[in-house]
């Protein structure tokens, strides 16, 4: 994943769209319509739409539902991942605040398709202030499902301040009352998830997209984005930026267009995808596509201008990971500490600058040998910042 634009790759202009935040009062009609459809047909339409998960990993959503549907077992679960802990990401909060029905409809659809009777919203503790409202809407929706003859009940569970619980298997551990220690995969949650039953875990925005696709149809949806990155996506824009906030943009744009739109004119680097994403320096803006063919992102776009110390940025990320690693596996638990202490030692001249090369090697080992996505992605920020801003780290 170099983030480099290939010569012949299709790109899209930066285009704002408005689907996600449209009023959500028509969602039930969409659901009603869909419940009359064949389950496999819905799956086919989702696969056809090209929708990939919006939580970061980018797995084809239709395929995930298909696997869960085909998994053996009477009891299955739908989980909406609202743990949104990736630094610089805040779009799921906004969705849940403004259009929760669109999310819940997506979950109910999933329940219908895979044959699940129970869905959970796993809400991070930091968003607990949303709970009263969400619960009353849930209750209302549960009634509606009943009226529609859909045997599906929504429930809520809370996180308790652990970033790693956004990782789907850690989330499941957490729901089971355990430490959020990611599991070995396989088995994947679609076959052995919550309480070892087949489980679909999707991001908040993914469920929203499912609802939208059921409403407008895959054909219409496919008009947006590129071959590898269909549709549109919410971007959480923050940092040194003229207009921070949440924007719904078509996928496949060039980072340079993005910076032109949102930067403050002095942008030195953009961190795409949060602390676990990549840092792109100015000179690569016009070669970087935002999408699964370039740099995929859960939506976090953090903009740094030339007044920022990239050492400081990296240090902050590493502190984050050192604390938020679940701590079970060696490369991640010890690796995070070593990267953090390592750049401190280089900065303070206790270690020579060549130690950075050792650390880059270490970061690459973490990438391939860690147990879960957290440890595997620490190297993204580390290598991209050290590669592009080596001087700032040393001096």
């Amino acid at each position: 994943m170099t983030g480099k634009k290939q010569n012949d790759m299709e790109t899209k202009k930066l285009t704002r769209v408005d689907y996600i935040f449209r009023p959500d009062n028509t969602c039930l009609d969409t659901l009603k319509k869909s419940l009359r459809r064949d389950r496999d047909e819905i799956i086919l339409e989702l696969i056809d739409s090209g929708l990939k998960g919006r939580g970061g990993a980018g797995f084809l959503t239709g395929l995930k539902w298909k696997l869960a549907k085909e998994a053996a077992g009477d009891v299955k679960y739908v989980i909406c991942n609202a743990d949104e802990g990736e630094p610089g990401t805040f779009k799921d909060r906004e969705i849940l605040d403004r259009v929760p029905r669109r999310v819940f409809t997506g979950m109910a659809l999933c329940g219908y398709v895979i044959g699940s009777k129970e869905g959970f919203l796993y809400l991070r503790a930091e968003y607990k202030f949303l709970a009263p409202k969400l619960m009353s809407i849930m209750a209302e929706m549960n009634q509606e499902f009943k009226k529609l003859g859909l045997d599906f009940t929504l429930n809520i569970r809370y996180g308790s301040g652990a970033y790693v619980c956004g990782e789907e298997t850690a989330l499941i551990d957490s729901m089971e009352g355990r430490r959020g220690e990611p599991r070995n995969k396989p088995p994947f949650p679609v076959t052995e998830g919550y309480l070892n039953k087949p489980t679909v875990v999707n991001n908040v925005e993914t469920f929203v997209n499912c609802t939208i696709i059921m409403g407008i149809g895959a054909e219409e949806y496919k008009r947006f984005g590129t071959d590898s990155s269909r549709g549109f996506k919410l971007f959480s824009v923050s940092g040194d930026c003229s207009k921070e906030g949440i924007y719904e943009l078509e996928l496949g744009m060039l980072l340079s267009d993005f910076v032109e739109e949102f930067g403050d004119g002095d942008t030195k680097a953009v961190q795409v995808g949060g602390a676990s994403g990549f840092c792109v320096p100015r000179k690569k803006f016009n070669q970087t596509i935002i999408g699964f063919e370039g740099i995929p992102t859960g939506g976090s776009m953090k903009i740094f201008n030339s007044s920022r110390s990239m050492y400081h940025v990296l240090h902050n990320y590493l502190e984050f990971f050192e604390e938020e690693s679940c701590g079970q596996c060696t490369p991640c638990r010890v690796g995070c500490q070593q990267l953090l202490k390592g750049i401190e030692a280089v900065k303070s001249k206790q270690r020579s600058s060549s130690y950075l090369d050792e650390l880059v090697k270490l970061a690459k080992v973490m990438k391939v040998a860690s147990k879960c996505g957290l440890g595997q992605s620490v190297g993204n920020a580390f290598v991209s910042i050290v590669d592009n801003f080596r001087e700032e780290i040393i001096y």
Partner: protein, 596 residues
């Protein structure tokens, strides 16, 4: 039908059953993939990552212990990417580890040390994190020491304590760089529900969990000319000690053990098997008495089934977890403690030695016995009945320290008295052994005939199944025991505390009905005890069990009540089973403890 999966490992094709992990498949090809968190006895964790291998076409490495094989997989266990990752991971572990091997108790028997040796980890690449951490060493327990500075957080101990022992005295706590293995609120180990079974020690790959050793204290006693040092050896020691001293698992080294102990300078080398036989006399009689009281006298204060009481890890477990079932426990002390009480009374009298000058040492497969020796109830001789408990491992260390070439030793015999034993005493070391020994004697007391099993081998109670059951129909009894005529004696056996917990729960819920139950805290019984040689696994435990039963078969006396020294001690000293003296010295009581 079992599905076979074809794959290649290092370009060598292999076909294995579906569900096999990569590490197991590699083993079939005699390719060893290093591992730390993985253990044959435990569920898979996949956290240490030293077993990572390359799967051609996959950008990330796979944990060989946790990844099942798939059709057409191409696995490389030694590619450049793998080697670099493996070495880095070992270096990372060492950077968080207080690697002072030369001063470490596990020096020479440490999986982390072996790995760093194999990979020739030289000068530390990474920053030493040890000074940045606030590690503590918990020496509060008489049985074990927990040194967090040696812990690699593989969680084998956590899984042992929960999966095998159903105790969960240890858990991972906190996260990130602060993650550690902790008791409840990090309380000292002697204050928590730890049973001192030592199973976690057997599976800890490093020096983070070790037995509390009393080697120096025992040397001091041996060197003290004013002390008469007696030593007793538990049945399971003789079939395992060899593993520490050059033999393969399953070697019987009884005679060499005796010789070595003499050479170490113990004044008298005696056998716990003797008090194992004595236990059978007392416990068997106690069982018959209880049966009589319940069946004939309709005495409701007597609890049935009766549980055996010779495993101190089990005792502490039931005290914490099922205090309401304590009346079911036999009041018999463990053979170690019976021996201790007799050493400073009967033995002292016969030898004309002042008991205060006797130092009583026992060699045990067990760490819980260290705790047991310190219990306040265990001072019936007027002194601490057993002064020092050494594990099989500690004895091996002493033998090495003394420069004894163990394999070349001649066989010698135990001293007399309290050195004679029957095969029944020996099989105490295996799960089901106490039951078998008790049945051999009790059946004969009641009917006057030998147990109706070929060659006295009561095979239904043998073997490694977690919970075993057996029935013995009692017929044509002697007149004294007429109330037992036609009764089918129902017995059960559990080993490993998780199995014990299942059985206890079933009993408490009234789902099962038995007369007599044998429980051993450790998997396999004492032969799998927490003080036995490391490593342990099912195969090794089976070998040790075979050795125990072979030892039994080879002894001239196979029944406790026929041991001449047993007959003698009742004549000279105790009178009869459950006599006043017996009660004073050989029986005990239990204390309910808090589960939390």
């Amino acid at each position: 039908m079992i599905n076979m999966i074809n794959l290649t490992i290092n370009n060598i094709p292999v076909s294995v059953e579906e569900g096999t992990t990569i590490i197991e498949a590699a083993r079939r090809l005699s390719i060893r993939i290093p591992s730390l968190c993985n253990h044959d006895d435990l569920c898979v964790s996949g956290n240490c990552r030293v077993c990572v291998v390359e799967q051609v076409g996959n950008p990330t490495l796979q944990a060989a212990c946790a990844t099942p094989v798939r059709e057409n997989m191409q696995i490389l266990t030694n590619s450049m990417m793998v080697m670099q990752a493996r070495k880095t991971i070992i270096e990372l572990l060492l950077s968080e580890h207080n690697a002072d091997c030369t001063k470490c108790y596990k020096n020479g028997n440490c999986e982390l040390q072996d790995l760093s040796n194999e990979y020739r980890i030289g000068n530390q690449v990474y920053i030493d994190l040890i000074p940045l951490k606030h590690y503590t060493i918990d020496q509060s327990s008489p049985s074990l020491i927990k040194d967090d500075s040696k812990c690699i957080r593989c969680q084998r101990c956590v899984r042992t304590c929960s999966d095998l022992q159903a105790v969960s005295a240890l858990s991972a706590a906190y996260k990130g760089s602060e993650m550690k293995i902790s008791s409840f609120y990090d309380r000292p180990m002697h204050e928590v529900i730890c049973t001192n079974c030592g199973q976690c020690i057997n599976r800890c790959p490093t020096g983070a969990l070790t037995e509390r050793n009393y080697i120096d204290e025992v040397w001091d006693a041996i060197y003290d000319p004013g002390k008469h040092v007696v030593v007793q050896t538990a049945p399971a020691v003789r079939v395992a000690l060899g593993e520490e001293l050059g033999y393969d698992p399953g070697a019987r080294v009884t005679g060499k053990l005796v010789t070595a102990l003499r050479r170490l300078g113990f004044d008298s080398v005696l056998d716990t098997d003797f008090t194992a036989d004595l236990t059978i006399m007392e416990e068997g009689t106690e069982l018959l008495t209880r049966l009589k009281k319940v069946l004939v006298d309709k005495d409701t204060s007597m609890a049935l089934p009766m549980f055996t009481s010779c495993s101190p890890g089990w005792i502490k477990f039931i005290e914490h977890t099922f205090p309401d079932l304590l009346p079911h426990l036999s009041t018999c002390k463990s053979p170690q403690q019976m021996f201790g009480a007799l050493a400073k009374t009967y033995y002292a009298q016969k030898k004309g030695i002042n008991p205060k000058d006797i130092v009583s040492v026992s060699i045990m497969p067990c760490t819980a016995k260290k705790f047991e020796a310190t219990r306040p109830e265990m001072r019936d001789s007027g002194y601490q009945d057993v002064d020092y408990v050494l594990t099989t491992r500690e004895l091996a260390i002493m033998i090495k320290q003394a420069g004894i070439e163990f394999m070349k030793l001649d066989d010698e015999d135990y001293d007399r008295f309290m050195g004679e034993s029957s095969g029944a005493g020996v099989i105490f070391g295996a799960t089901g052994g106490v039951m078998e020994a008790a049945l051999r004697t009790a059946y004969e007391i009641v009917t006057g005939r030998e147990v109706p099993f070929q060659n006295l081998n009561i095979t239904p109670v043998r073997g490694m199944e977690g919970i075993k059951e057996a029935e013995v129909k009692i017929e044509n009894v002697k007149p004294d025991w007429s109330f037992l005529e036609g009764v089918t004696l129902r017995v059960a056996i559990a080993h490993g505390l998780a199995n014990a917990k299942r059985l206890m729960t079933a009993i408490r819920d009234g789902k099962v009905v038995y007369h007599f139950i044998e429980i051993m805290a450790c998997p396999g019984g004492c032969l799998g005890g927490g003080g036995q040689p490391i490593p342990t696994n099912l195969e090794i435990r089976k070998k040790r069990a075979e050795a125990i039963y072979a030892e039994d078969e080879n002894l001239p006396i196979r029944k406790s009540h026929e041991n001449p020294e047993i007959i003698q001690i009742y004549q000279e000293f105790l009178g009869e089973p459950l006599s006043h003296t017996s009660h004073e010295l050989l029986h005990t009581h239990y204390v309910p403890r808090k589960r939390y």
